[in-house]
């Protein structure tokens, strides 16, 4: 049987991709950010996941205002790399796992989640930056990836509660897949940042760390944080953190924290990273 063995939370700031692509990971600015991922890179080499369900959002790269799916899953064989205005990132193409992806899609729909299914999909920095952070610069990504895109741009975005619940349903779906697969789920985006208006540049170290504490907790209070609290406390783009709740929902009630890292700033953004494993 397939099993979700771990959950990873990580920011996906585009500048981190630039740092990897230009070999700046050890300089004075990026060094303190990337050192917080050294542990995870070694751990991933030992864990060797077969598949990562990668929860991310598209930043008006492949998706435009024509179609705005709340939850979308990539069921294709492979996914191209978006040109976000300065040429596609020089990273390998992303290989999908259509059997598991279609299985999850069907299972979620039967569990009352109205999924959008993508067969053709190009992925942007929201998906490729976490891959670079966790795996560095391999010629080929070491695992298959199921892109799981969430609308966190056009309001209303899904509630934290709904994100947690769909995470629970993803866990159930994976565990009913007959093949033996080591599956991880990653929640990406955040942490505090605001990229627009006179309040741009807002960061909130205290709130972000409280959020990380809540993810580590046995209770599920974190799922009930309303949108307005994310917006007031963590900036307009801090709302991306609801995507971490999909990962946390898929972990089950209790978790063990394997690794945690926080750094301010990266460009406009607070960097957060956490590695959890189910503990039941």
């Amino acid at each position: 049987m397939a099993k979700i063995t771990a959950g990873v939370g990580s920011s996906h700031v585009p500048l981190l991709g630039v740092a990897v692509d230009q070999g700046k990971e050890k300089d004075d600015y990026f060094g303190p950010i990337f050192r917080g991922y050294d542990w995870t890179r070694e751990w991933e080499k030992a864990e060797k996941p077969d598949v990562v369900v990668l929860v991310y959002n598209d930043h008006a790269s492949y998706f435009d205002m024509n179609i705005v799916p709340t939850f979308a899953i990539g069921c294709g064989e492979r996914f191209g790399i978006c040109d976000e205005g300065w040429g596609p990132r020089p990273v390998p193409e992303v290989e999908g796992h259509p059997d598991l992806a279609w299985h999850i899609a069907q299972s979620l729909i039967l569990d009352d989640f109205d999924m959008t299914i993508f067969n053709k999909l190009d992925v942007d920095h929201g998906l490729t930056v976490p891959l670079s952070m966790m795996f560095g610069q391999p010629e080929k990504w070491p695992c298959k990836v199921i892109p799981f895109a969430v609308n966190v741009v056009t309001y209303p975005v899904p509630s934290g509660n709904r994100c947690w619940a769909i995470g629970e349903a993803i866990k159930k779906a994976v565990e009913s897949f007959p093949e033996d697969l080591n599956v991880q789920i990653w929640g990406t985006g955040g942490m505090s940042h605001q990229l627009q208006g006179p309040r741009a540049g807002l960061l909130n170290r205290e709130w972000d760390n409280k959020f990380l504490d809540m993810l580590e907790s046995d209770n599920d209070d974190v799922r009930h944080i309303p949108h307005i609290e994310y917006l007031r406390e963590t900036g307009s783009e801090g709302i991306e953190m609801v995507m971490w709740l999909i990962m946390r929902g898929a972990m089950g009630k209790k978790v063990k924290t394997l690794h945690r890292h926080y750094h301010i700033p990266c460009s406009n953004t607070a960097i957060g990273h956490i590695v959890l494993e189910p503990a039941e």
Partner: protein, 148 residues
Amino acid sequence: MAENPTQNIHEYLAEFEDIPGTRVYTAQRARRGYWINQFAMSMMKPENRERFKKDERAYLDEWDISEEGKQALLRRDYNALLDLGGNVYYLSKLFSADGIPFAEACSTMTDMTWPEYRQMMLDGGRKPEGNRSIRENLAAAAAAAQKN
């Protein structure tokens, strides 16, 4: 599964307008800014960028954007564009076409210069204190005025 009580849509949306210096990308803004955002998306294609750079006004005239919107685009007045329903992820395609870093474009929406903004970020960013609620800020100012 825990359920959230259904939120009142009007209350939900009204609260967004209480955040200082922030335009939440609501359906209302998304509808208003549809063509501004779709224009910005067109900047992802090199041939469109080339045509735009050659004659910005002529390129903008191909889009169903109000005169106010076109003027704001020509001025790169990003706060005005947010008011007209632009979204920063869409507008960022114009930052790229102009060849300026995202953070620098963000700084133009604040009351700081780019070097000042960059320094603020290095110093830990803008603090949430005093930046959470217009209502609370007004109440605090009124209370302070009464004290004096």
